[in-house]
């Protein structure tokens, strides 16, 4: 007898979330409302992702949790411990060994496989929310496929800055129909959303929405013919592993302008480091 039901949530809650997940997969990119529960952590700490993870986990899974690419930050460590305690599942920091990966704001550098599920923590699921605050209106805009406003926003970026300035949570169109917020991943990660072999699930706890990308789904970042989408990153190589094509964090090292660029994906960086040292 354990102190918690398997994976914390009660069975009725899991059934409700599981039904939402199936409809989310059936209508890729559409935000399915669900009755988000209070979790033993504050909203904004990944309650949506945690509820989705709790509903897909099986006792045989091996869970990895990352926060901005790192396995060792507070949010990632707490969520990993939460599931070690409530679901007794194995955990790992290796992308290749994980069957379920919960992520905050990154997609791992190592390509995902068909036997993996990526669960995103989502703060604001509605891509049109900052353009139109009324839920009744954004819902109607999705129904009518009325996404002109989003293009106006991107155009205003170009008019003001000379380029599309949106650097994260860059809007995408899923399977030619719904415009979706990919959560605040850097736009560097956007190309990995498309045609991904893994199942991608998105959970927004405070906003009570679940959405999904089935594997091998066409996901296009919105752009213009004369201003095509560009996946950008800092023009440096990682100071630790030397990788020239991974997403980098900028770290200020002193008060004299010293800077270091390091891989944001700690597992990717460590694996390269180990291989290099061996």
């Amino acid at each position: 007898m354990t102190d918690y039901n398997f994976a914390y949530l009660d069975e009725q809650t899991k059934r409700m979330i599981r039904r939402a997940l199936l409809k989310a997969l059936a209508i890729p990119g559409y935000q399915v409302p669900f009755a988000s529960r209070e979790m033993p952590m504050p909203y904004g700490w990944g309650t949506g992702g945690v509820q989705v993870t709790a509903s897909v986990l099986t006792p045989e899974d091996r869970l990895k949790v990352i926060d901005q690419g790192a396995d060792d930050t507070t949010n990632a460590v707490s969520i990993r411990k939460f599931f070690e305690k409530t679901a007794q599942v194995a955990t790992t920091t290796r992308t290749t060994e994980a069957t379920v990966i919960q992520t905050r704001h990154r997609i791992p550098e190592t390509p995902l496989g068909e036997d993996q599920i990526l669960v995103y923590q989502v703060p604001i699921p509605e891509p049109l929310r900052f353009l139109e605050p009324r839920e009744t209106e954004t819902r109607r805009m999705h129904a009518l496929e009325e996404y002109g406003l989003m293009h106006v926003k991107l155009y205003e970026d170009i008019a003001r800055h000379g380029a599309i300035a949106t650097a994260y949570a860059y809007p995408v169109k899923v399977a030619g129909r719904y415009v979706m917020d990919p959560s605040p991943i850097p736009k560097f990660d956007n190309p990995k959303l498309s045609d991904c072999p893994a199942i991608q699930l998105f959970g927004a706890g405070r906003e009570q929405r679940i959405y999904a990308l089935p594997p091998y789904t066409d996901v296009v970042s919105l752009d213009f013919e004369d201003h095509p989408f560009e996946a950008s990153k800092a023009p440096h190589a990682c100071a630790l592993c030397g990788s020239g094509d991974s997403y980098l964090d900028e770290i200020v090292t002193d008060d004299a302008g010293g800077r270091m660029f390091l891989c944001s994906d700690t597992d990717y960086c460590e694996s390269r480091h180990e291989r290099g040292a061996a």
Partner: protein
């Protein structure tokens, strides 16, 4: 007649978790056949259909039993294990039946333009389920997949309603496969 009290999951939380993972995989990868076990319903219900009902249905999901699945034994089993209200075709979230008893499909909830998720999921009992027959393409499928569907025209019509429409789970023995409304059938 089987006892209505028998046939539920032995260990509800992990059994339902494993069954859901199989169903999730099936819905995410149309045409892929997964195994679901752990539950037994009254005849003629398949093992897979029993596990699907126990995993997804509860007192908040109206259920429609079509054709030969509308028996006293199944009603009693559903009442004890699931508690789903039994309703007519037009107000059901979940439907269980043979393909012949499910047509025409427009009797079922199709969702609305604002809420396309408020649509029925049809659990179609099949004699067998194999990776041959109709060719499938669409989200979740790398190039194309094959599945022994009971029909083609009805699924094509359903896909043209996207983002409205119903979604299908096919069950045979302990096997389950799925066909969401996004899948193109040839």
């Amino acid at each position: 007649m089987r006892d209505a009290l028998d046939g539920g999951f032995t260990d509800a939380a992990p059994d339902a978790a494993r069954a859901f993972r199989a169903i999730l995989t099936a819905m995410a990868r149309p045409g892929q056949i997964a195994r679901v076990t752990g539950a037994t319903g009254p005849v003629p219900m398949s093992l897979a259909a029993a596990a699907v009902l126990l995993t997804l249905c509860d007192p908040t999901t109206p259920l429609h039993l079509a054709g030969r699945y509308d028996t006293d034994a199944i009603r009693a089993w559903v009442a004890f294990h699931i508690g789903a209200p039994l309703v007519g075709a037009d107000s059901a979230d979940f439907v269980l039946g043979d393909w012949a008893d499910l047509l025409p499909l427009d009797r079922f909830r199709q969702g609305s333009p604002d809420y396309p998720d408020r649509s029925a999921t049809l659990i179609v009992e099949m004699r067998e389920l194999t990776a041959e027959g109709a060719t499938l393409t669409g989200p979740g499928i790398r190039d194309s997949a094959c599945l022994s569907l009971p029909d083609r025209a009805a699924f094509r019509d359903n896909a043209t309603r996207f983002p409205l429409g119903v979604d299908f789970l096919f069950t045979a023995g302990d096997r389950v496969a799925a066909l969401p409304r996004t899948t193109q059938v040839f």
